[in-house]
């Protein structure tokens, strides 16, 4: 994998329940199809762009840290004020966090 390898630390918090949902992902340990899909999702997002919290209360908060090529990048985002690309990434990570643990 080499330089293509990436790691993600993900947490969804907040929401009415306030329950935390977490995942750690290492591309080297993902099935190839999943790693490819996740890489495509990552390529499309701009993690640096700040996401201001939207109005209201009880929204989900997403904290995403990505390590690629020895560098960490991080972003905090909220339901209701995310770009469609970032939404697609968080949807994937939520589904991954929910999956029975065998590949993370």
């Amino acid at each position: 994998m080499g330089e293509d390898r990436f790691e993600i630390q993900f947490e969804r918090s907040g929401g009415l329940a306030g329950a935390s949902l977490q995942a750690k992902v290492d591309s080297a340990q993902l099935p190839e199809a999943d790693a490819g899909e996740l890489r495509r999702l990552l390529d499309r997002v701009d993690l640096v762009a700040a996401q201001a919290p939207p109005r209201g209360a009880d929204r989900f908060q997403y904290d995403i840290k990505v390590r690629h090529g020895g560098k960490w990048q991080s972003a905090t985002a909220y339901d209701g004020s995310m770009s469609p690309e970032l939404k697609a990434l968080t949807d994937w990570l939520v589904a991954h966090a929910r999956r029975p643990k065998n590949n993370s």
Partner: protein
């Protein structure tokens, strides 16, 4: 020398012309006439305003009288579009086949009733605002939230959360976020955010208790007990009586010594709310009877106190609850209950 003014109906423009160009004598007369003219105009203006006032009053007779509920339920049809325009239920409609719609309408109604019948609050903004709710938001969406204009309800995934409209306390919780927004507008971060959350839990629980006619000792003091799924491994989302015991992994503190510092969840707003939640529970239990009558009134008045500002912390709110208790009930058992309840969670009042 001034002469007694003989009154003519002269146009103000002509009088002004005389003031500017006339002899000193003419000028005096013109000025005096202008002054009187001005005062007459003032009286006329006042009369006009008064008559407008009466018209406005009679006009308001055809508007909804205060305390008239107006609910609209929208269906997001499993999209994540909270601004959907698809209306599935309007005020006055009969129950429909979709239970989420009926539950939302009933929950909004129960919340409206508590605020109006007990606190004389005319809807969430105290000005009779419509209550708009969206059901079936998202696919298996494990959340309900207030988006600044609508109450939005997900169906849950059935494992962690079930259909969120099933909890009348959940609906009361979300609507109370709107009440807080139009009163103290507590910032949704850190302690002010946890206070915001706690106020939603307190009134969410009161909505449930009021609807069931329960006294404080009969109430379960749980939040979301009707919407937890098996995977959450617990009886509710939160326990106000025993914070930190609602489900496996519930890390709510019940004392300032265990305040959780975190950047997740807007600074732990759903976690540290356990501290004021527990204080409210203690106040209600110590006073006894129906919690909305005294404990709820003390909390409601504190929420509306102008000294409660967006950046207020627990200490500020606690102090205001004591003032409110003293104002309503003097220095007796109620005030003592408030002081003791905050002391039990690590907040000392002066």
């Amino acid at each position: 020398m001034r002469k007694t003014c003989t009154c003519f109906f002269v146009q103000p423009a002509v009088l002004e012309h005389i003031v500017r160009t006339g002899t000193p004598e003419q000028r005096d007369i013109a000025l005096e006439t202008l002054g009187r003219d001005h005062s007459i105009r003032t009286v006329r203006l006042q009369n006009a305003l008064l008559s407008d006032f009466y018209q406005l009053r009679s006009r308001s007779l055809v508007e909804p009288t205060p305390g008239t509920i107006k609910r609209v339920i929208f269906d997001a049809e499993q999209s994540e579009n909270a601004e959907t325009t698809k209306v599935v239920w309007n005020e006055g409609d009969k129950a429909v086949a979709d239970p989420a719609v009926n539950e939302a309408a009933d929950g909004l109604g129960a919340t409206f009733r508590l605020y109006w019948e007990i606190y004389k609050r005319n809807s969430i903004d105290d000005r009779g605002r419509n209550l708009n709710a969206v059901v079936h938001y998202g696919k298996n969406y494990d959340n309900a939230f207030w988006n600044g204009s609508r109450m939005v309800f997900g169906d849950g995934d059935g494992e962690f959360l079930t259909r969120t409209t099933q909890g009348v306390d959940v609906i009361g919780h979300e609507l109370t976020h709107a009440v807080t927004e139009s009163t103290a507008n507590l910032a949704y971060t850190g302690q002010s955010g946890a206070l915001n959350e706690s106020i939603s839990d307190a009134f969410g629980s009161l909505v449930k208790q009021y609807a069931a006619g329960q006294t404080a000792d009969q109430a379960d003091w749980l939040i979301g007990d009707k919407i937890v799924g098996k995977a959450l491994k617990g009886k509710a989302l939160r326990s106000m009586a025993k914070p930190g015991t609602a489900f496996e992994g519930d890390n709510q503190p019940a004392h300032m010594d265990h305040y959780v510092k975190t950047t997740a969840d807007s600074g732990g707003v759903h976690t540290n709310s356990g501290i004021p939640n527990c204080a409210f529970y203690h106040v209600a239990m110590a006073i006894g009877g129906k919690a909305w009558e005294k404990a709820g009134l003390i909390w409601y008045d504190s929420l509306r106190d102008p000294r409660l500002t967006p950046d207020s912390n627990f200490q500020r709110f606690a102090q205001l609850t004591l003032r409110a208790a003293q104002h309503h009930f003097g220095a007796g058992a109620e005030s003592k209950a408030v002081t003791e309840a905050w002391k039990a969670v690590g907040i000392v009042l002066t």
